[in-house]
């Protein structure tokens, strides 16, 4: 079972929940797919090591064959290729690695060469497996790093918990696309609700089963809960707004180890999710 934790707004508690949830489970794999800023490892006492590079294919032009026809540049969806009078310029960072240029070149003058944009790491102890991806600073494409990170998902682990990037755009979609269940963490504030609505819309298009965890319960207003009632979205758990949680968080201690009874509440949440999936 693959469960992904998402949020619309950043800073609502995805990482806290992902780490706390994974720690309550046995024989679990935790994947930190927030590759722009992976920070699950701050809460884990694990040594991680580099296991792979994340790469995308970019075009390389053979000028012995190129006739400067411009088919590649005029069809590039991302404007990564540009024809100037005497050559085709390749703008590496604009390239999404789709490969269209190499396929449509009438002279077969384009080959694809790999370019490293991120790194993949692994750490483990006993029955806990942890992987994360990290986009290289200055790179822009997190989605391919996430899809290559997902290739490290273990077939031996009965449950996989994935920490998604915030938002509702391509990186988040790539993270949740093959998940069995999605947990949407939100905070009961106007910003939290507004961003959450976009995620709900996205998850419905993707036909994903999902439920909401309300974090920092007690701040803001009741609009979030009213919205969930109206939209018939299950509220799986409420995590109180609590200074002790913040204080421990700043020292790398997840709320699981701060709030008494949280262990059984998280375990119960998984039981509820299993039921919802049947």
């Amino acid at each position: 079972m693959q469960i992904t934790i998402v949020s619309g707004k950043g800073g609502t508690g995805k990482t806290s929940l992902a780490v706390s949830l994974a720690m309550t489970l046995e024989n679990v794999q935790l994947l930190d797919a927030d590759v722009d800023e992976p920070n699950c490892s701050l809460f884990l006492d694990l040594n991680t090591k580099l296991v792979a590079e994340a790469k995308i294919p970019i075009p390389e032009i053979n000028y012995d064959l190129c006739t400067l026809c411009g088919a590649c540049s005029s069809n590039c969806e991302y404007n990564a290729l540009m024809k100037v009078p005497d050559q085709i310029l390749v703008f590496e960072k604009m390239c999404h690695g789709c490969g269209l240029c190499s396929k449509i070149c009438p002279e077969n003058a384009i080959t694809e060469v790999p370019r490293t944009i991120g790194h993949l790491y692994e750490g483990k102890n006993e029955d806990f497996l942890f992987n994360f991806g990290a986009l290289i600073v200055g790179e822009e494409l997190s989605t391919p790093v996430i899809s290559q990170l997902k290739q490290l998902i273990s077939k031996d682990k009965p449950i996989i918990v994935i920490d998604s990037p915030p938002g509702s755009s391509c990186p988040m979609v790539e993270t949740v696309i093959d998940s069995d269940y999605v947990i949407l963490v939100s905070e009961p504030t106007p910003f939290g609700l507004s961003d959450m609505k976009m995620v709900v819309k996205t998850l419905r298009i993707l036909e994903k089963k999902f439920g909401v965890v309300i974090n920092k319960d007690g701040v803001g207003n009741k609009e979030l809960e009213l919205y969930c009632q109206k939209e018939e979205i299950p509220v799986l758990l409420k995590i109180p707004f609590n200074l002790e949680i913040a204080r421990n968080y700043s020292e790398g201690i997840p709320f699981l180890n701060v709030l008494p009874g949280m262990d059984s509440e998280l375990k119960q949440m998984i039981v509820d999710i299993r039921e919802a999936l049947q």
Partner: protein, 112 residues
């Protein structure tokens, strides 16, 4: 100065529009023939580009045989593309295009 085609990003099709503050996302380019000061204002096809608008705009200017541009500022991609296309770049300011061309003719604009 030689007679050249000089392009300036603008936001309207007015008679004497003011230079727009952005390059790739400008609605139009005003292209001036410096020989007789005749000008045309052409819609910039890059204005709706999802990404890489600066590059698409440079490609458009190349296809219109532009030899120089007067710009407010440039992103790194557009800058590189203009240089590789041998288009000379001049630093502009928010002035009507006729004033900018007058300054250009007096060699008062600095080359970037």
């Amino acid at each position: 100065m030689n007679n050249l085609k000089v392009a300036i990003p603008v936001s309207s099709k007015d008679d004497n529009p003011t230079m727009y503050e952005r390059f790739g996302r400008a609605s139009y380019f005003c292209i001036i023939e410096t020989e007789d000061d005749s000008s045309v204002v052409l819609a910039n096809p890059a204005v709706e580009a999802r990404g890489g608008a600066g590059l698409r705009a440079v490609e458009f200017l190349i296809s219109n045989q532009t030899q120089s541009v007067i710009v407010p500022q440039l992103g790194p991609n557009a800058d590189q593309a203009l240089r590789r296309a041998n288009i000379t770049i001049f630093q502009g300011e928010s002035l009507p295009v006729k004033d900018l061309i007058a300054k250009w003719k007096n060699e008062e604009l600095s080359k970037l």
